[in-house]
Symmetry: C2
Subunit: 208 residues, 2 copies
């Protein structure tokens, strides 16, 4: 009998909880409550308690949650208490900014390979890990050889679907897609989108 799957929407909130806990740690705080977290995140305390209850009992009645402990637990649940090797495709302005972004450090991700199709880019050393840009023809083989299962797409929209396909063939199971296009992948492969235009357009509806 399979355990009932935990809803995607619950999984989706855990990284946000984790981010808030990191911030509280940085503030030097020791203990928090579902009420305080909810106030900070703009969601109800009941929802936070319910979400956490899918995974176990992490708090103490009357006291709340030990911040460091809950952070550790959430890291384990999300499997980010270890490092995931990441391949980045696209070494243009956007790809370079991603490779240089310091925010991945300590969050479970490490960009260890970068690919581009522009001869001028290939061979350049890029990003906080000083990775040499490889030709995109080497993508699939490199993914396999290094056992990489997480990919980031930072190419123009017209190449995103083809790159996604190659990534999947190379064994990638999770894709962060910065290209402004919905990509199709087989079942079992996960995709998340980063599209600032979508973010902005979600708000203009409400403006005068």
């Amino acid at each position: 009998m399979a355990k009932r799957a935990i809803p995607d929407i619950v999984i989706g909130r855990l990284p946000v909880y984790l981010r808030a806990l990191n911030f509280l740690v940085a503030e030097g705080r020791q203990v928090t409550s579902s009420q305080e977290l909810g106030d900070r995140l703009g969601i109800s305390s009941a929802q936070i308690r319910k979400d956490l209850s899918h995974f176990g009992e992490f708090g103490k009645q009357g006291t709340g949650y030990d911040i460091a402990f809950l952070r550790q637990q959430l890291s384990e649940i999300l499997k980010v208490n270890r490092m995931w090797d990441v391949a980045l495709v696209g070494a243009g302005n956007l790809g370079k900014a991603i490779a240089d972004y310091p925010g991945f450090v300590g969050k479970g991700f490490n960009i260890i390979a970068i690919f581009d199709n522009d001869p001028a880019k290939i061979g350049q050393i890029m990003g906080i890990n000083h990775v040499t840009v490889q030709p995109v023809e080497e993508l699939e083989r490199t993914l396999r050889e290094r056992g990489i299962v997480v990919g980031i797409i930072a190419t123009p929209a017209e190449h995103a679907q083809a790159i996604a396909r190659t990534m999947v063939e190379g064994g990638v199971k999770a894709i962060l897609n910065y290209a402004p296009i919905t990509i199709m992948v087989p079942p079992g492969v996960h995709v998340q989108y980063i599209d600032p235009v979508v973010g902005l357009q979600r708000m203009t509806y409400y403006l005068a």
Copy 2:
């Protein structure tokens, strides 16, 4: 009697529909159906029809939707059939990549002011609109003077809340926040988040 508000979750999908329609136009297509759109986006055709039905009748039985027409209608609904002036705060690596990003062109947004607190950055000319970076002290006044209601935060996390507050005081009603922290804003101010770490951590749970 107030019209029943359209659910946020419906509004949130419209930019994704719009993105798909833009892609179909680029492919030279004229007509599509809820079925085809749904297949491309990985959602049900019924949901697309239901979502659109909140706003009117845009299709023809037996035929489907005229792509250019539906695109125009969605642009109007989302109020992106005009240009929104945008202020960007943070002119570091990330801010520079945002200012240089060509994807805002033709999507309703125009970065017309950039701010930073680093004297080395102030005075630099940056981005596809060749904007001169201003000191952050001028943020609130500039927002007011130019009637800017859309802001982008690309500062380190520790400054994001203060910048958000200044933006709100300057009249901003929609904030796209790249800083990895949840910010608190008054009712009526909208926030969307761009956090690649959250995107990646939402997927690792499902990996082996």
